[in-house]
Amino acid sequence: MSALQVSHVSKAFPGVKALDDVSMTLRGGSVHALLGENGAGKSTLIKIMTGIHKADSGSITMEGKPVRFGNPRQAAAGGLGVVHQERNLVTRFSVSENIMLDRLGKHSLSSVDYPAIAAEAARWLKLLDLDVDPSTPVSRLSVAQMQLVEIGKALSLQSRVLLLDEPTASLTPSEAQVLFRILRRLRDDGVAIGFVSHKLEEVFDICDTVTVLRDGRNACDSAGLKSLNRDDVVQMMIGRAERISKRAARSKPATAPYLELQDYSSTAGHKDISLAVRPGEILGLYGLVGAGRSELAKAVLGLSGQTGGEIRVAGRHVKINSVAEALALGIGYVSEDRKAEGLILLHSVLANAGITVWKRLANALGFLRDATIASHVGPVLKKLEVKTPSLDQTIGNLSGGNQQKVSVAKWIAAGVKLLIIDEPSVGIDIKTKAYLHDLIHELAESGTAVLLITSDLTEMVDVADRVAVMDGYRIQGLVENDRNYERVSTAIMGLIHGRKAA
């Protein structure tokens, strides 16, 4: 009997059919992948399963019994645990308090039996191979450990079905492997696991069956993954074969560096960083989470203090104290955290795309009109194929891929000479990802210097010209990228782990 069966579920929002006759079956003791591009209906389906949305038609059964949850709490009580993409932990609370958060006492006024909840939490931590003291505050854990705590929290509610929404988005490959080992064990214990991911390598690594959604319909319903290959799945997701980009290694431009760091140290903790990015070059910056890559980008932008060394822009020695000064020097930064740092979700596409050029476009009195901004950023948005009903559309309503395009577009509109791009394809569908890679190349071809930060090795090998490897807030070495994935990834991992072994 299936642990969770979704049968012929449809859901319409005003004007749009989000799900159309969608089915999916999760079985105990098996890992099931739920795939689809952004906007295909994955989130809507999860929201219907957990009771956030009501289905217009169709049914959901668990262990053969029809269920209809009114909210995620009921779903959890009914044995359906969900680990969302966003962290839902109280970071100042301890691990055990978080795991037992809604069962701290019999009722609101009863005293908390700390030894009891610690013991209960320890049981789940042990199951998850998480070697931390249950009384540790969650804020001291790594991202990967927090992820495991969330899984423990879901499991501790006796979940027989566990849905994971992009669980590896913020994990490094080795951390993901640890997670997978645990998922496999849970699977062997009979838990039904639903796994949402954009990374196909992972899906083939861990999943047994797959449901693919495309435009709110089943492109396939609970098929075995054994009989499928990567191209088949991509074909189902995008409706055509993925363009496998086999870029040739590009010739190194012989120009002088646009940005040069020499023995640079920062208050963020960077030590003796030396690197150079030339116009027309894509320099990758690879490292594990916590290696200090985004922090380096932000330090260079003036968000941290400089404690030593030198920054040179176009050969000139400079001090950068704010992003505004960095922008004046032609440096732009596409944040990895689009929603919190990259965009102003409340405001329009036009306001977000034009924010970097307001000052430049305003007349002497500081006045500027929408039409002026639109004529400046419109062509860029059009070139980047940003899909929006109008420039006045609130950007929070666009899909992740289109939001990401706007957060790149605003720097292109500003005409930056160096663009720092931090994790460009987090939470973005394959089509947009490939598009962004092309775009980054195009930018480099037109003479922009690009500093690319990514935790996705495939992406790094596909896009960067050279890769600077960072660990512990230092540069560990530089790897020339000849697009040979095996060689480059081995060299990078050697630089990271060689030091640790020593």
Binding site: P14, A18, L343, L346, A351, P389, L391, G396, S399, N402
Partner: protein
């Protein structure tokens, strides 16, 4: 631009279509407020003799002018997601500076007025500077500065009024333009128009909205967020000073107690007008027209209830209830925006 973007509707997410049409109209505060104003005005006009007399209309209009200005002062800082409890204190302090300049120092009015407004901006700058540098929420900072500003003012003035101002000042308070319309209301309407243009068509105005909606993203987009937030507080100070001057014109004198103890009498209208009008308490979105309508609604309700001889304490309780409802509406708005992924 329309042809550049009109061909790309196909990736419409379910959510973003909900944003148009009926829902947007129903959610628009301006629309709801205009209806409420028409309703309240209609009922009072029919049931209360004298409510629509020229003098009554004149005083209501004048009060709308002053309350709107107070609301705009608060609105300018709510933009940042903060607030300014010292608006009343700043307003009175600026009025007293004006009184000193005009009555004692003999500074001509065309100079004394801008100097008093500039003084209000300076007090706002102090607020903004401390808020930005300390990183402490403006609630605490302005609670402190409210007492400090007011205390120093009482010390310097010995709590004495300036009641021998040049005659042009009380004349301004009584001046009518085009029938029963107070000049003070006209001034407010001009300021409303200027602010609407400011937030829509100037770099600084846009930067204020951007920094208010998401300070981190604005900072990382090259906006000097700290300076912008200080500028918001300065704008608040200037508008509060202007409101203080308008109150001085109505009273005919600069009186230390004209905004109550510590200027606290202003707080209710200061929050009511913008919040009723749809300015988002979490920052990043303003409605100048909404603030005007909010103040108009509050003034008409208050005037009507006073004419009905409802006790003043009941009116205050009624205004408090109205603020509570407005804040609940703000939370609802916030939730709607969050559900649509806009915050």
């Amino acid at each position: 631009m329309t042809d550049a973007t009109s061909n790309i509707l196909d990736e419409a997410t379910p959510e973003h279509r909900r944003g148009s049409g009926l829902m947007r109209l129903a959610l628009s505060n301006e629309f709801g407020l205009a209806l409420l104003i028409a309703l309240a005005f209609g009922i009072f006009a029919m049931t209360l003799p004298g409510f629509t007399s020229p003098f009554s209309l004149f005083t209501i209009g004048r009060q709308i002018g002053i309350d709107t200005m107070i609301g705009l002062a608060m609105m300018a800082v709510i933009v940042t997601g903060g607030l300014d409890l010292s608006v009343g204190a700043i307003g009175v302090c600026a009025a007293m500076v004006f009184g000193y300049l005009a009555q004692i120092a003999g500074v001509p009015l065309p100079l004394a007025i801008p100097l008093a407004i500039a003084f209000g901006s300076v007090l706002g700058f102090i607020n903004g500077y401390v808020v930005v540098r300390s990183g402490v929420h403006s609630f605490i900072i302005t609670l402190a500065s409210m007492s400090i500003f007011f205390g120093i003012m009482i010390f310097l003035t010995q709590a004495q009024s300036f009641n021998a101002l040049p005659l042009a000042v009380p004349a301004m308070g009584k001046l009518r333009v085009g029938g029963p319309i107070s000049i003070l209301l006209i001034i407010t309407l001009v300021v409303c128009a200027a602010l609407s243009i400011f937030y829509r068509y100037t770099t600084l105005g846009r930067q204020m909205l951007a920094a208010g909606a998401n300070a981190r993203a604005a900072e990382l987009s090259g906006i000097r967020t700290g300076r912008i937030i200080i500028a918001c507080h300065m704008l608040t100070g200037g508008l509060a000073a202007l409101a203080g001057l308008m109150l001085t014109a109505r009273t005919g004198a600069a009186v230390p107690s004209m905004a109550g103890h510590l200027g606290q009498d202003w707080l209710l209208p200061a929050f009511l007008a913008p919040v009723l009008g749809g300015t988002l308490l979490s920052g990043g979105r303003v409605s100048v027209i909404g603030t005007l309508l909010g103040a108009a609604f509050v003034t008409i309700m208050t005037s009507g209830l006073l004419l009905m001889r409802v006790g003043e304490f009941w009116i205050l309780a009624c205004l408090g209830l109205m603020l509570l409802l407005a804040v609940l509406a703000d939370r609802l708005r916030h939730q709607v925006l969050r559900a649509r992924g806009m915050i």
